[in-house]
Symmetry: C2
Subunit: 266 residues, 2 copies
């Protein structure tokens, strides 16, 4: 089975027209597919309306009990169910799930090392049996960023990590491609020029680009994560803009493909 | 396959200790089972905090756009995912779903006849294939009261109606029992005496009790719904308190069983 895991974040979810446009492309995306979504600004907005102010320590958000309730409501309720309803309208048989549902993703509250991040989960175990079962039945899993510790506690979890963990777990038995939609057209040679996309990167090229300081610091963790996924068997990782997702399946330049495949630069 | 459909409402959900106690019993409940839950006061509480005031017309709640967002967040997010996490902690493989997920329940916005109830759904179609698939795989579906119209619109739907619709759809091919947990020990001879439970009611007895004014008006719609479910093939309907749910499986007097079975009163 060939499976595509596609992750979207706030830069799609926060804009109804962008989300609709993306879901139109996602509906046409060929083959078995899984959508993973984060939260965006909606959780902060609802939280603030409820008097739950975002608490930040060293630039990192702390998930206290009230914040956890808000993200559970917004991610697993409002966003997830609206995405599923919109997919159903496009005759895509979506099924929305958190990591607690069917015990798909078990995580552990992040250990306190200086900072207590609160109810934030580090992924421990992914059970892909149910996901495969659903994919085989023609369903399209739509995963939100809420997981659980299997002791009754929900945990707020990074959506990129969920997409990577799912992809690498499924890659044990299947050909998996991982797509990260973000606010840039891909890895750029010139950060200010959206058309200066580097079409393909493997580890040799990555090493060169880093040495030449072509890759700016914000991209490094994304690329490191991508290579980590490749090392765990993911076929390739694509990063680019949500609106170019379908182009990427047509072999057109639409983002950056990160691959383990070796080749000469010239 | 024998399937039990169990419905709980605000009188369980609104009290964390009662919910825990109920989930403990539900975990031990034998056989294939489905949990259906409503909302309770939590949606009103969050709505009011967000400045979304319940709008009532003729004693009925109107679901405007903001109220729909609130109930989607609270029912499909907060309540549903916490129930699933608590079941997982008890090694019950719960999977939370709205009617949109897997297109299980398609409904239609209630037609405007004098009153516009807003985004409220009347159930049109139930697809039980996915539910049966999940039950066969050892999963326990946990359904909330949000459905969709398959045109992209979520709809707030009565949880009793969801439980009945699921039970009657499954009853076409399976032996289905339907359990309604509510705030009374069952149908009572004396409304003020919780131990005056009428253990079994069939249509003959129901007619007699109505004639003798033993059944008070609040019970009549519940019993009418129960008989409607029996006419559509449900094996029996139980109504009683959530804390007596397990007793009901042990043949002990724990609530009222509504059945189509004919027998003499004496």
């Amino acid at each position: 089975m060939k499976i595509s895991v596609i992750k979207i974040g706030g830069n799609v979810i926060d804009f109804p027209e962008k989300l609709d446009e993306f879901l139109g492309q996602f509906a046409k995306f060929p083959g078995h597919k899984i959508l993973v979504h984060g939260g965006g600004i909606m959780a902060s907005r609802f939280g603030e309306s409820l008097g739950v102010m975002p608490e930040m320590v060293d630039g990192r958000r702390i998930t206290d009990k009230d914040t956890l309730d808000v993200v559970t409501m917004v991610y697993a309720g409002l966003i997830n169910k609206n995405i599923v309803a919109k997919l159903q309208a496009r005759h895509v048989n979506g099924i929305g799930m958190s990591g607690a549902d069917g015990n798909i993703i078990r995580s552990k509250k992040r250990p306190v090392k200086g900072i207590d991040y609160g109810y934030v989960g580090n992924i421990e175990e992914v059970d892909t049996d149910l996901i495969k079962h659903l994919l085989n039945g023609g369903l399209v899993p739509v995963l939100n960023a809420i997981t659980h510790d299997r002791k009754g506690q929900l945990l707020n979890t990074n959506a990129d990590s969920i997409a990577s963990a799912l992809a690498t777990s499924l890659a044990k038995d299947h050909e998996v491609k991982l797509y990260f939609c973000f606010n840039k057209s891909g890895v750029l040679i010139d950060e200010k020029n959206e058309s200066s996309i580097i079409p393909r990167i493997n580890e040799d090229i990555y090493a060169e680009l880093k040495q030449e300081n072509v890759i700016h610091s914000g991209m490094i963790p994304k690329l490191d994560n991508a290579f980590a996924a490749l090392h765990k068997g993911v076929h390739h990782v694509w990063i680019g803009k949500a609106e170019n997702l379908l182009l990427s399946t047509k072999g057109k330049l639409s983002g950056t493909i990160i691959e383990s495949h070796k080749y000469d630069l010239f």
